[in-house]
C-alpha cells in the first residue's frame, strides 16, 4: 500500500500494531499517549480484538504477560510514570522469555514530573528498568512514519528473539501529525511450541516461569539469555548516518532530538563547519560500532538529549573516551533549539568541549 494518510504519531502506532496482527491491547489512561488507547478502544471491537482498560498499569502489564504466555501478539502503552509501574511485569516477561510490545511515550520526570516530551527514561529502557539482568529491544522513532514502521518491526523482533521490545517515543512524536504510509498486514511467522494453550492431552505440560531456586540453573538461564542478546547486538543494530562522510564533529541524537539536530548540522555546514549526525534507531542494542568508527575521524561528539544526559554514557563507552564528548540538553519537557545544538557543535569544533 502506497497511499499516505495524515495521522498522529500515537494513532500510527495503534494502526501499525493492528496491521501487525496484534489483537490484544491493555492500557491505563495517561497523558501523552492518550490517542493510542482511544484508537484501540474504537478499532479492536470491530475486528474481534480485545481492548481492555485495566485497573492499573501493573494489571495491564500482567494481562500482557497472560496473553504473551498464550503465544499471541500483545501490547500495552503508557508514559513515563506508568512505565515505572510496569517494570515488575516487564522483568517477569523478560525472565520468562516472552515476546510483547511496550510503548513508552515519554514525558518529563522524575516523580509525577510533567506532561511535556522527554527522553529521561533512557536509562530505564536500555539498562534493564526492573530487577535482574535483562534487556529489552528498544526502538526510537523520530517521525510518525517510524512510529508505524518500528511498531511492526518491534513485534517481529520480539517474536524472533522471544523477548519484550519497547518503542521509546516521546510526547512530541506522539502528538504530532504527519503523512504516513501504513505498513502492510502481517503477523507472527514464528512457531511458539512453548505457549500455554492447553496440553490437549497430547504433550507434557508447558510452564511459563521465571523462578529457578537452584542457583546453578538460574545462572544458566542468565547466560543463555545473554547469548541471545549477543546475537541481537550483532544483527539488529539500526541507525542513520547523516553527513558523516567527512564530519569533524559528530552529533548523536535520537527521536525528536535527532530532528532538531539535523537542522543544526545543516546550519553548521552552511557556516563551513563539517558536522554530521549519528541517529541511533535502536538504543539497545546501541550502535557502538558506528560511534567507534566515527571516533577515529572526528574531533568530538555532541550528545543531544531531552534529559540530564543519559545516552552520553553509551557514547563515551562506545568511543572509549578517545575524543571529547559534550552534552547539549534540555530537560523537564523542554526541547533544545537548533541554535542551541549549533552552539554546542561550534564549541566542539573550536575545541571548547
Amino acid at each position: 500500500m502506497s497511499e499516505k494518510v495524515l495521522m498522529k504519531g500515537n494513532e500510527a502506532i495503534a494502526e501499525a500494531a493492528i496491521r501487525a496482527g496484534c489483537r490484544h491491547y491493555f492500557g491505563y489512561p495517561i497523558t501523552p499517549q492518550t490517542e493510542l488507547a482511544a484508537y484501540m478502544a474504537k478499532q479492536m471491537p470491530k475486528i474481534d480484538g480485545v481492548f481492555l482498560q485495566a485497573e492499573s498499569e501493573i494489571s495491564a502489564i500482567n494481562m500482557v504477560y497472560g496473553v504473551a504466555s498464550a503465544g499471541k501478539r500483545v501490547m500495552t502503552s503508557s508514559s513515563s510514570p506508568g512505565v515505572s509501574l510496569k517494570q515488575e511485569g516487564i522483568s517477569y516477561i523478560a525472565g520468562s522469555d516472552l515476546p510483547a510490545l511496550i510503548v513508552n511515550v515519554e514525558r518529563g520526570g522524575p516523580g509525577l514530573g510533567g506532561i511535556q516530551p522527554s527522553q529521561a527514561d533512557y536509562f530505564q529502557a536500555t539498562k534493564g528498568g526492573g530487577h535482574g539482568d535483562y534487556h529489552l529491544i528498544v526502538l526510537t522513532p523520530a517521525s510518525v512514519q517510524e512510529m508505524a514502521d518500528l511498531t511492526a518491526l518491534a513485534f517481529d523482533l520480539a517474536d524472533k528473539y522471544r523477548m519484550p521490545a519497547m518503542l521509546l517515543a516521546d510526547g512530541t512524536i506522539g502528538q504530532m501529525m504527519e503523512p504516513v504510509e501504513l505498513p502492510a498486514e502481517s503477523g507472527c511467522t514464528v512457531e511458539k511450541p512453548w505457549a500455554v494453550t492447553g496440553t490437549k492431552m497430547a504433550r507434557e505440560h508447558n510452564i511459563v516461569n521465571s523462578l529457578y531456586l537452584v542457583p546453578e540453573e538460574l545462572e544458566k538461564t542468565n547466560f543463555e539469555r545473554f547469548e541471545r542478546y549477543k546475537a541481537i547486538e550483532e544483527n539488529e543494530v539500526r541507525y542513520e548516518e547523516f553527513m558523516m562522510d567527512d564530519a569533524e564533529v559528530c552529533v548523536v541524537a535520537f527521536g525528536i532530538a535527532a530532528r532538531v539536530s539535523k537542522n543544526a548540522v545543516v546550519a553548521a555546514r552552511k557556516e563551513g563547519i563539517k558536522a554530521g549526525l549519528i541517529r541511533p534507531i535502536t538504543v539497545w542494542p546501541f550502535p557502538k560500532k558506528a560511534v567507534a568508527k566515527a571516533a577515529a575521524q572526528v574531533k568530538g561528539f555532541v550528545s543531544v538529549e531531552l534529559s540530564m544526559g543519559q545516552m552520553i554514557e553509551d557514547v563515551k563507552l562506545a568511543c572509549d573516551c578517545r575524543v571529547p564528548v559534550s552534552l547539549c540538553n534540555r530537560a523537564g519537557g523542554m526541547i533544545p533549539s537548533p541554535d542551541e545544538v549549533l552552539a554546542a557543535i561550534k564549541n566542539m569544533q573550536g575545541g571548547n568541549a
Binding site: H24, F26, V50, L52, A54, E55, S56, I58, S59, A60, N62, M63, V64, Y65, G66, V67, A68, S69, A70, K72, V74, E88, G89, Y92, S96, V196, T197, G198, T199, K200, M201, A202, H205, N206, I207, V208, N209, S210, L211
Partner: protein, 250 residues
C-alpha cells in the same frame, strides 16, 4: 471394585508442603474438579507467589507462574486470549488479599470468566510466618509477636463477604478442609466454580479456610481444631453469592 487413584490432573512430582499442611488436600480437590469436568486438555493454571509458588510442578495442565498478587490479571490475559480454555488461579491470603487485592477486586467486578481458588490460612507461610491480611485479632505471628493489635495493624479482611457486595462476580463461596464433611463440601463447591466457567457464567471464587501447623506452632491435629474454634467463627462458611441461582429464584 473401587480403586483409590491419584487424579489425572496431578503430576507425579513430590509435594514440598510441610507435614499436616492442607495445601495437599486443596490441590487434590482442584485436580479432581478438572478431571470431573473433563477439561484437563484445555486447562491453564496460574500459580501465585507464596507457599503454592511451585504449584506449576504439581498440576498436570499448562501453567504460568505469576508475580506476587498478579494472578487474576495474568488469568485475565490468558482468558481474553483463549476464551475456550479453562483458566484458574491458585492463591494464598497474602497474594490475593494484600498485594493482589486490586487485581482480585477488579477481576471480580468485570465478572472475568475465570476460577479463583483462594487459600486462607491467616499467615504468610513461605516467608516464615508473618502477619497476613487475614490474621485474626490477637494472632501471634513473626511480625505481630505480641498478637495482632487491631489499633496498630487494623482488622482482618473478609474477602468473600467483601467481593459478594459487588454486582460483578457470579459465584463467591467459603469452604474449609478441616474435617471430612467440610472436605466433601469443598470438593462440590470447587467443582461448581469450574463448571460455572465452562458454562460461561463468570468469575467464581472459592475461599478455602486452611491451616498452617508449622507457622501457627501447632501439631496438625491441633491446627485443625484451631480452624474450627477460631477461624471459622471469624470466617463463616457458606455461599455468599450465586448470581445464576439468585436470578433463577426470582
Amino acid at each position: 471394585m473401587v480403586v483409590f487413584e491419584k487424579p489425572k490432573s496431578l503430576t507425579d512430582a513430590e509435594l514440598h508442603y510441610c507435614p499436616g499442611c492442607t495445601h495437599g488436600i486443596i490441590h487434590r480437590l482442584v485436580a479432581e474438579a478438572i478431571d470431573a469436568t473433563g477439561v484437563e486438555g484445555r486447562a491453564v493454571g496460574v500459580a501465585p507467589v507464596g507457599c503454592a509458588v511451585m504449584a506449576y510442578n504439581y498440576f498436570a495442565c499448562d501453567m504460568v507462574e505469576a508475580a506476587h498478587g498478579r494472578a487474576p490479571a495474568v488469568a485475565t490475559g490468558l482468558k481474553r486470549a483463549m476464551p475456550e480454555n479453562i483458566i484458574f488461579t491458585y492463591q494464598g491470603d497474602g497474594d490475593l488479599a494484600s498485594i493482589g487485592m486490586c487485581e482480585t477486586v477488579h477481576a471480580a467486578a468485570r465478572n472475568e470468566n475465570i476460577t479463583v481458588i483462594f487459600v486462607n490460612n491467616a499467615i504468610y507461610g513461605m516467608t516464615g510466618g508473618q502477619m497476613a491480611p487475614t490474621s485474626l485479632p490477637g494472632q501471634v505471628t513473626q511480625t505481630s509477636p505480641y498478637g495482632r493489635d487491631v489499633k496498630v495493624a487494623g482488622y482482618p479482611v473478609r474477602v468473600s463477604e467483601m467481593l459478594a457486595a459487588l454486582d460483578g462476580p457470579e459465584f463467591i463461596a467459603r469452604v474449609a478442609v478441616n474435617n471430612v464433611k467440610n472436605v466433601r463440601n469443598a470438593k462440590k463447591i470447587i467443582q461448581k466454580a469450574f463448571e460455572n466457567q465452562i458454562e460461561g457464567k463468570g468469575f467464581s471464587l472459592v475461599e478455602v479456610v486452611s491451616s498452617c501447623p508449622t507457622n501457627w506452632g501447632m501439631t496438625p491435629a491441633k491446627a485443625l481444631e484451631w480452624v474450627e474454634e477460631k477461624m471459622i467463627p471469624y470466617y463463616p462458611l457458606g455461599v455468599y453469592k450465586d448470581k445464576s441461582a439468585e436470578e433463577a429464584a426470582k
